[in-house]
Amino acid sequence: MSEAPRTFRFVSSDRRVREDRRFVVGKGRFAADIAVPGLRHVALVTCPYPAARIVGIDKTAALAMPGVHYVLDGRELAAATLPLAAGLDTPHVPRRPLAVDIARYAGEWVVAVVADTRALAEDAAERVKISYERLPFVLDAEDALKSDAPLVHAGHGSNVLLDRTFVWGEVERDFAESPRHLSLRVKWGRSSTVPIETFAVAASWDPWREMLDVWASIQMPKYPDQTATALKLPASSVRVHYDVDVGGSYGVKRGIKHTVLVGYLTKRLGFPVRLIEDRLENMRGGDAHGPERLFDVDVAFDDTGVIRSMRMRALDNVGAYAGRSPFQLGKPVGAIVGPYRIRSVQYRAIAVTSNKTVQEAVRAFGQSPTNYAIERIIEEVANSLGLDRLEARRRNLIRKEEFPYLIPSGSTYDSGDYHTVIDKVLAHADYGALVAERDRLRAGGMLAGIGLATCLEPSGGNSSFEPLLNPKNTTTTWMDSCRISVDATGAITATMHTASAGQGHETLVGTVVGETLELDPERIRVVRPDSLSALPSNSPVGSRMAVMLGGAAFHAARKLREKLVAIASHDLGVPLERAHYREGGVFDRDAPERRLGWMDLVTVAHRNFHKLPPDMEPGLSVSHVMQVPTGGALPTADGRVQMYPCFSFEFHLILMAIDPELGKPEIRRYVVGHDCGTVINPKIVHGMTMGGIAHGIGAALYEEFAYDDEGQLLAQSFMDYLLPSSHEVPPVEIVHHVTPSPHTVFGQKGSGESGYLGAPAAIASAINDALKPLGISVNTLPIKVSLLGDMIAAAREKIGEPQGVE
């Protein structure tokens, strides 16, 4: 598929991002900005207990208030709709927008109130009297596994939603033959992406056209289908408007339950209904939470630090229902060894329910916690041998000449040059000087450490993790599409068929189509039609859009070129192979003066049917539905599968200092080497990398959906859930390297996740390096100031180091 030229006109040039113009003037069109006439507003009543039977709901006082239209409970909604789609085969874990009879986490929606204004709906929500009978609950994943644990879903018979063990290669033998073994337990705390825009959806039902119009801030594959199914409507009666700007997502803007709720309400009530989560609703009961994962990792290695085999047990606390999240244990299979040559792997993936908020998809779809676990264990391997941590990585990294490289779990990595990326970073940072700086800080009484982390970002994949973890599910493909139309005036419009949450997809399509047609990308209008006029697409999940939407746009543009060439060849009377396309026109290679310009071609296609080649469709409208470059296949019986075609690589190098008295970590230097193949838009890739790192800093140091022992979410507001501000994100130096992917048209790979994949591991690495002189380590994220301070104090007391040194 490497038919495109490797020198580009527009691809890789530092062009502006076309979406930005509307945002800087406040003319983004977000879901909350869409003024549907006659809109009424929803507020939610949520369960305050982690587990409770709903004994009674008294709506009288709320309904008596002027301006209050409806109070909806779970039973009514359940009678009219189907449960929300679940990924796993867990029919007795039904999930619905409003709790039916039993609520299973503090914050679960129980009742929805509809009123003239949101404020009034909140007033009325306070007057809905719900009586509960509290039930036993379980919060901790390991507790949930115990035989006497309260069952979150009694009908399911256990709290285990998923427990699969995969063995790839000769794990037993490799362990038996390896002279050294090491075990480590690490924990990834419950955090998430927490975009600044909460989820918002407005829906309007037209009973005469039988049409549900939906405007929502979504990043959700199969959103129209799932909404329609739950509402028992044909999907052709659900028109999702993709031309809505999404105020950030990184995975969590799923919104099916919200949409089923407002879809039902607008149908039931006959007027448009909107739900905009407020921040509290978002934090405790939106699709807001991410993985909370406990890893037990064992590795077998030799005396030189070369790891032969790994056993990993990942126990994920997915919360009260089976959302999409258990699949987040599946994506890591696609890069289960990270960038390392580990020849055999045993992977046990366990997802348990608990009485916490439901976990949903989060940036990197479970790969970031796994990468943190892998990077922690490799450091421990180095430590156990007294080996330099960099050297331990170098010895285990896949080498450039080994690509394409098949990993034990069945994925073939496309390309990479990991050692060179690392060397470039070390050279850029002057690694020796950085070590000297660390030692100088240590000599000055600070704790200081150098953090190292590699990471692989699988991108552009299919959804084979679904059949991998649920054999009843046979979904193996995830398409993305682009249609290009040239109208009779010669204007070009390209379409994309999902909403977009800041990744610059319009710029991507414009650039790729411009590149392929050799026309200024600014000439190409990019639009996002609604779901009824859309081609198949799966939304920007899994770092897929550069590969998949970029690929679709390229192929559509190439088809357009071919059509133009065919028209010209026919019209000029030259053989096809002599008709040459350049910059919108086609000429005879042997007689370049014989040429049809853009408008000539457009006119033929649109108006001069008599000049068209026989059997050619008139007009200039082409489309391409893009399959994942490496295709889609069901997993093998032992769970080997190729999900992702492209693998980006990053190497993070940081210097951190910790005031030993305060335990407060500070990033003093941050350098990252980044290789996502060919960069289509440098500004966008730069931003994705920086933003991913900031997000990773949050997960590593600040952010946690912390619960108390009584099942209350203590971090429901931005006062307690701490997103990094500009103060907390240091300047980051990015070192670029390009190893093109052989699977994509320009050599591009995904770039939306690797900052987030590497930063938490790198920060953990730096802090552990800093703690090394004290003989302690920390294996839980986030690493909060107080925790770190208390650990350091205890360690210093133990080794008799004086406290209170200035």
Binding site: A32, G504, K683, H695, L723
Partner: protein
């Protein structure tokens, strides 16, 4: 309650409940949707507008408190249809945003900074936007945008060189 809001130089009479925040009044009563609700409890800064030139959180002000105050929204710093201010253009130049949700507020915070401090250090810029949370960018390209705009504004305001 009736309140007269002076927004972007024009006076608008609006009827609001006392509990209506300035943010909601701007968005719902005046259709100025450039200010966004992010947290509605004064932490994220997505609702930032200028009140008498100072960046403030419009979710922490009730509309009834705002009469007589010169309120400037993102719509008010945009020179005209299709035209960008130097600051807005600089945000485009560095791609100082991704999803665009926090962007108008960020630009207004930057606007307030540059009005008072035409030559801010990087630290000044970081501090000035520290009350505006951006989840997408990691802030680097935002800081770059503001530094670039400051430089360009200083250039524009510099007297022409002799002989030029």
């Amino acid at each position: 309650m009736r309140v007269e809001l002076t927004v972007n130089g024009a006076i608008h009479g609006v009827d609001v409940e006392p509990r209506t925040t300035l943010l909601d009044a701007l968005r719902d009563n005046l259709g100025l949707t450039g200010a966004h609700a992010g947290c509605e409890h004064g932490v994220c800064g997505a609702c930032t507008v200028l009140c008498d030139g100072a960046a403030v959180r419009s979710c922490l002000m009730f509309a009834v408190q705002a009469d007589g105050i010169a309120i400037t929204t993102i719509e008010g710093v945009t020179p005209g249809p299709g035209e960008l201010s130097i600051l807005q253009d600089a945000f485009c130049e560095t791609h100082g945003m991704q999803c665009g949700y926090c962007t108008p507020a960020m630009i207004l915070a930057a606007h307030a900074l540059l009005t008072n401090n035409p030559a801010p250090s990087r630290g000044d810029i970081v501090d000035a936007i520290s009350g505006n949370i951006c989840r997408c960018t990691g802030y680097a390209q935002i800081v770059d945008a503001i530094a670039l705009a400051a430089e360009r504004i200083r250039g524009v305001n510099r007297p022409p060189e002799a002989g030029a």
